[in-house]
């Protein structure tokens, strides 16, 4: 997968999931990828590499910040943290997504019409 769009993920979906994951705790890229894979039950089939362009976009927008640190396995890793702006952005995006999802669900719901 090159970008979210090509797998049917809507633009911004990956970023939203990253922000949500980082809200729980700061993580480095590899751990972030594993966490998203695990929690999504691998349903999304995200290529691990596709996280990095998304992380760069978030860095550029200053929604996350990154610092070099040491991982639990004693590796030098870059640890990403949610910024205040990132938290706000996440909230906004999630509420937008929920509305969208609700709309879609209503349309798809059987029985009515």
């Amino acid at each position: 997968m090159k970008t979210g769009e090509q797998r049917g993920l809507f633009p911004g979906a990956l970023e939203m999931m990253i922000l949500r994951t980082l809200k729980r705790q700061p993580l480095h890229g590899y751990a972030l990828a594993q966490h998203i894979k695990r929690t999504s039950n691998d349903l999304l089939q995200i290529e691990e590499g596709s996280l990095y362009p998304a992380l760069q976009r978030l860095l550029k927008e200053e929604l996350v910040k990154a610092e070099w640190g040491i991982s639990s396995t004693n590796r030098r890793v870059r640890i990403y943290k949610l910024t205040a702006a990132g938290a706000k952005h996440l909230q906004h995006e999630v509420s937008r997504f929920e509305k969208m999802l609700e709309g879609i669900t209503r349309v798809l719901a059987p029985g009515e019409s």
């Binding site: 090159k2 970008t3 990828a33 691990e48 590499g49 760069q56 550029k60 590796r75 870059r78």
Partner: protein, 550 residues
């Protein structure tokens, strides 16, 4: 300032990125190995789950870039590198394009200088020619009409009239026949031509007896008077009479006038009539007055004159016309544009030629393209890369072309027949011309790059890889190349036919029967003062040996 910090941080960002991705892969491999997978397989799995590493890095970097410009520059650099690798191909293509662009730049300099550029006068759009008009044709102006116009009009800041003459200028005993313009006082002020020394004629110098004053062009002052800084107030001999120098024009445009000497126009009482049309009249419109308003004003003025002098002036009106291109015939304008079209064709032919060369070379680069595509280059990227290569080619060609145009212009300015372009026209490489060249260059690059680039980026790539380096040429490309050759021939034939027709009419012109043998015949005129040579017997013509007087 954010972009500036970004620029400096970018290299670090890129470094972080590569390191981070490396760590990511290693960590994954370690974990897989720890779970019991052989290292080799673990490496393979890690890479597969990660995806295309190069592409990921590229996409991540792209976030920090101003994408199009930087990609364009990278492509240009790459294009130039490819060109350096193939000097023979590059030389042929660049020279072909240089010829096309050079010819176009040179021709456009002429067209721009002669037809398009604003005239080199302050507020030049206010400058108009005022002609007498009879039966719809323009005519020179008679002195009495000019004086009436000057008095009665309300559209002009000022109007001036002039005639031309030939005077004999003597400097230290060497007489030389000079063309002289004889304008009414205020001529230079009206046009806004600056003087390097002295002043414009004052109104009193338009009266008989006060008119022995002269203004000269900068070039004449330089060539005949050694740029004498004390020339104002000195006397020169014109037609054997003393004239006081009152002004020297600033260097530049006035040096291109036919006349380099100016004496004031005096209207003698016997010349002030409504019959003899001999003056050329120029005016400067008042600010905000349009051509239509000026024409309406002059119509009222001429109608009043015609009512007062019905015998001479019935049917005579006036026509106010922009100065710009007023002295350039329709024929000349048409010819200039035709020539521009012809060199445009030359550039098109050059483009088709280079396009064909590029296509031929694309065959050789099939494998490279297939490899790039399999490494993740999109069609768009391939297309833009090849297009940029041809643009790089065109840019080098364009730079050479401008140099070529510079040399061509030196010849053109000398060879250009007199009066074929306005005297004000400054034919040289200036900013608008260079912008035109840049546009022509980019157009050429796109024109000759489009077809090959499209071909390259839309080919069935797996075939190219399978063929394993054998240079197969598909039927489609052959078709395109054939089309280009046909196009090139069509263009060249059109050009050839046009050139042939011009040469044919020129040849016919040289064979028109004039009714006499024109070879070995000379004609010349000798300006003489009627006052000094009253009787024809006073004139002796000394002919060079071998010349016979018929």
């Amino acid at each position: 300032m954010r972009w500036l910090t970004q620029l400096f941080w970018r290299r670090r960002v890129y470094g972080h990125l590569s390191q981070e991705i490396r760590e990511h892969l290693e960590q994954k491999i370690e974990e897989l190995v720890a779970s019991g997978m052989p290292r080799k397989e673990a490496t393979y799995v890690a890479r597969r789950e990660f995806g295309n590493v190069t592409l990921t890095e590229e996409d991540s970097r792209k976030v920090w870039r101003w994408p199009s410009i930087e990609e364009f520059l990278t492509d240009i650099r790459f294009g130039l590198r490819i060109l350096r690798k193939n000097p023979g191909f590059a030389a042929v293509a660049v020279l072909t394009l240089a010829l096309g662009i050079g010819a176009n730049t040179a021709m456009f300099s002429v067209v721009y200088g002669a037809l398009l550029s604003p005239l080199p006068y302050p507020n030049s759009e206010q400058l108009v020619m005022v002609w007498s008009k009879v039966n719809g044709h323009r005519n020179a102006v008679c002195a009495a009409d000019f004086l009436e116009w000057k008095r009665q009009n309300s559209a002009f800041q000022d109007v001036v009239a002039w005639s031309e003459g030939t005077f004999s200028l003597s400097v230290s005993g060497n007489p030389e026949s000079m063309q002289v313009r004889i304008p009414s006082p205020g001529f230079f002020n009206l046009q806004g031509i600056p003087l390097a020394l002295g002043r414009d004629f004052v109104p009193e110098e338009g009266e008989a007896g006060r008119n022995h004053v002269v203004i000269m062009a900068h070039r004449l002052w330089h060539e005949r008077f050694g740029s004498d800084p004390h020339i104002i107030g000195q006397q020169v001999r014109l037609n054997a009479e003393p004239y006081t120098v009152v002004g020297v024009l600033a260097a530049g445009m006035p040096d291109r006038f036919e006349a380099h000497l100016f004496v004031p126009l005096v209207l003698r009482p016997d010349q002030i009539n409504h019959q003899f049309h001999w003056l050329t009249v120029m005016g400067r419109l008042k600010p905000g007055v349009t051509l239509q308003q000026a024409n309406a004003d002059m119509e009222a003025v001429t109608r009043r004159i015609a009512e007062t002098y019905p015998v001479s002036n019935k049917g005579w009106g006036a026509s106010v016309e922009p100065l710009k291109n007023n002295f350039t015939s329709r024929e000349t304008i048409k010819d200039l544009w035709l020539l521009m079209g012809a060199v445009g064709f030359v550039l098109l032919i050059a483009c088709v030629n280079v396009a064909n060369l590029l296509l031929a070379r694309a065959t050789i680069r099939q494998k490279e393209v297939a490899l790039r595509a399999s490494l993740g280059a999109t069609r768009g990227q391939l297309f833009s890369q090849f297009l940029t290569e041809s643009l790089a080619l065109a840019l080098v060609g364009g730079a050479l072309g401008v140099g070529l145009a510079w040399m061509l212009l030196k010849a053109i300015v000398v060879l250009l027949p007199q009066y074929s372009v306005p005297t004000e026209a400054d034919i040289r490489l200036n900013l608008p011309v260079l912008l035109f060249s840049l546009a022509a260059t980019i157009l050429a690059g796109v024109l000759c790059g489009c077809a090959p680039s499209w071909q390259i980026s839309h080919r069935n790539l797996s075939n190219a890889l399978k063929e394993g380096g054998r240079y197969a040429s598909s039927a489609g490309r052959q078709g395109l190349r054939r089309t280009l050759v046909v196009l090139e021939f069509a263009l060249a034939l059109t050009l050839l036919a046009g050139a042939g027709l011009v040469i044919h009419s020129f040849w016919k012109l040289t064979r028109v029967n004039l009714g006499f043998r024109e070879d070995h015949l000379l004609t010349f005129s000798l300006p003489l003062r009627v006052e000094r040579f009253v009787q024809p017997e006073q004139i002796t013509i000394v002919l060079p040996p071998g010349t016979r007087e018929d």
